[in-house]
Symmetry: C2
Subunit: 454 residues, 2 copies
């Protein structure tokens, strides 16, 4: 693709009531969003109307802050969220073009079952499935009959193994393995079905997968880790990466770093799309946008404010502080999501008060907040896109469904007028729309390699 034809990729990062921590309290929020399929259906259809490439849900296989005091528990809206593949499969039948990125954990899910559900989704959606690979930072081991939550390094070792195993399983069947000749009674060609015979550090899986090769060859692989281990895993295996960067400089650093790592794995820069998160607070005028922002910030209950701060000040006694005191330095290394911690630590060191700190965390959990008119939001997008910080953006509406509807109705047309965004879908699969190639079957690729080296 020539540089002049380069188009922005857009994802809608769906979080039940919206990305603001107090979103559910907003009059425009669908407060029971988490278990309301009609709400999600509307969001997917709105994103498709806006010609978005994809919708995305984050996930953790646990959702209850059982360790927190009842006062906090009672005010948190994360009570119920659908299993992501189950959710997206439903919505694949009421949409035609939008891609579906579902999160699944390499630490807590079984690789065979994981491979199977995503391959199923790719068939069912006719080529619109993607897997967001996560290692699950939070300790949810108590739900899984295992000795304890693996440490960061161990989780990434396991993730490296699981991703390779799942990629192999997805390629168990060659594209033309199914002969289906009614006359002769030959259904398939066994020579074109591959055992994976995986024997690794963590898993032994014979295969093959019990799902034929899927329309995209295999689902698109998405990642979001920003640690050293996360960046390497992404450079080796990811096709899309979601990231949280607050400043253009940080975005450029991340972009250049990731693209620079690809050659080591024999990959081209255009084989990995980088999509930072952006939290757009819209208004008809700058003043109105600011008022909208301040209104939603005002909905954060003080108990939640302190709870947010305590998430990061692990082991620090904040009882002597008021919210208007300058934020003290954060403690060092913890097992909490490290890239998030770095970002918060940077924020805390800029002289913010604790109130300013929790408010900036409440908005977008560390992602880039842009408050302004539709033109200003479009500007903020264009600058990063044209200056080596992004191939696209993961739009994180503060409140749902209105935050997404407003973006589609007000910002998308501006991006289209500027020639930065599509005016119709290029293809029918997610890969086609993202401009990613349909991958060669890994078993065939290996055969070719072996022939070359012979």
């Amino acid at each position: 693709m020539s540089e002049t034809n380069r188009k922005i990729r857009l994802g809608a990062f769906i979080m039940a009531t919206g990305h603001h921590v107090a979103a559910w309290r907003h009059p425009q929020a669908e407060a029971d969003a988490g278990h309301n399929i009609d709400h999600y259906r509307g969001l997917a259809q709105t994103a498709e109307r806006g010609l978005f490439d994809l919708v995305f849900v984050a996930d953790s296989p646990a959702g209850w802050d059982g360790d927190k005091e009842p006062e906090i528990r009672s005010r948190v809206s994360h009570s119920a969220h659908f299993e992501p593949v189950t959710l997206w499969s439903a919505l694949s039948q009421v949409t035609d073009r939008i891609g579906f990125v579902a999160t699944a954990s390499t630490t807590y899910e079984d690789p065979y079952l994981l491979a199977r559900k995503f391959a199923s989704l790719d068939h069912i959606s006719k080529g619109r499935a993607a897997w967001n690979v996560v290692t699950t930072a939070a300790d949810v081991s108590k739900n899984f009959s295992i000795a304890g939550h693996p440490a960061h390094a161990n989780r990434y070792e396991r993730a490296e193994e699981v991703v390779d195993l799942v990629l192999d399983l997805w390629d168990s069947y060659e594209d033309d393995a199914l002969v289906i000749d009614k006359e002769s009674g030959v259904f398939l060609d066994p020579a074109k079905v591959h055992q994976v015979n995986h024997h690794g550090q963590f898993f032994d899986v014979a295969g093959p997968l019990n799902v034929a090769r899927s329309p995209q060859g295999r689902p698109v692989v998405v990642q979001a880790g920003a640690s050293e281990a996360g960046r390497n895993l992404a450079a080796r295996t990811a096709e899309v990466i979601f990231t949280a960067n607050q400043t253009l400089a940080a975005g450029q650093e991340f972009y250049a770093d990731l693209k620079g790592r690809l050659a080591k794995y024999g990959r081209r820069p255009d084989q990995l799309l980088i999509m930072p998160g952006i939290f757009p607070v819209l208004g008809g005028t700058e003043v109105e946008a600011q008022e909208n922002y301040e209104f939603i910030q005002s909905l954060v209950h003080p108990s939640i404010a302190w709870a947010i701060l305590k998430q990061y000040y692990v082991g620090v006694d904040l009882s002597g502080y008021s919210l208007d005191d300058v934020a003290p330095p954060l403690p060092g290394d913890t097992e909490l999501n490290k890239s998030r911690l770095k970002l918060v630590s940077d924020l805390a060191s800029t002289g913010l008060t604790l109130r300013q700190l929790y408010l900036s965390l409440a908005t977008a959990r560390g992602h880039r907040t842009v408050v302004g008119t539709p033109e200003q939001i479009a500007d903020a997008i264009e600058v990063w896109f044209n200056n080596g910080a992004a191939d696209g953006f993961n739009i994180m509406p503060p409140i749902l469904p209105t935050g997404l509807t407003d973006f589609v109705d007000q910002v998308v047309p501006i991006l289209q007028r500027r020639g930065l965004f599509r005016t119709e879908y290029e293809g029918s699969t997610l890969r086609q729309n993202l401009g990613l190639e349909r991958p060669v079957n890994r078993f065939l690729a290996r055969d070719t390699q072996q022939q070359r080296s012979a």
Copy 2:
């Protein structure tokens, strides 16, 4: 419900190309059914047009006969099948009333993830989900990094534990746990969310589940085991049981036995619905039906015929036999599905030739085959329903989609005219249509019990 108002329950047992082992070769079969979502969509919509209670898919988390010789492998159509919950979730959005029974294994799936996906499906389908509990008879351990396939007794011990654990997880949230008061900022009442704190022989799971209580209270629990352990598990926990019986006497024995076991667990006979499988081969006349039957039987390739026989004659040398020899006795106990084995053993002892035996197995894998006109099929259904052998039937069309369409168009109207089958859905959830109560939350039921005994 009074006896006179008693209505037949109907399930459509969906197997990709149909239940006949050679179904895929039939001119009317959708040969690529296994990975064709439009095929499944049509089936679910046809079943709903026929006012069926439910559609059902069997499942095993492996699908490849890798141990068999290529000649057999090449002729078997089980290459690709969707993960059942992913499949049904998709179809829940293009139907309104039909229930969805998905199979999932207590031996190979994680209980927390299993509970979550089914609870998600119950929300997404607005109360139409059911879990068919299986222990997975076939050894698929090679795909799951475990030491080996657990023996029958161990599988059932595990199943007893998993079912209880999953039932508890589904009740983690009380129906009114979510307060969602935007004004005060109270989202939920922590006192109405329950940890399950399960510490069993096989699993330790703290909970709660991260999905709110679902529209049906919880998905309907379905089972199909016919061994002693299977019958006890069903009597204690199942709400629907699928069964394979060839004769009215066998059907009556099974029905009376299962219903008789319920009192021991404090349950009423109407809390467990018994639905035998029936394999209907339709024709406009008796002669035509018989011709249709013989035609599809003729599609069984000889290699497949011998392979079917060898599945049951484990360790027996059949090389001296021709297909027209009388079937020798079957070997004794194996780890193969025991209820199936018993049935085949009974068949083999009636003096059938090996050809007659494989042909009777090829039709419906041990289920009751009825060949005849629509009136005769309706008669076959009515006799069992009115004589203590069935509350309903799991219809197993030989060929799909035509076998289901024909049943809906030709047999359903007869059952309706006879007053045996509904003319419109009674409710919007699967429980309502099956006449099953919405269960009281298990944590509340325990509280009540404790109060009574205090």
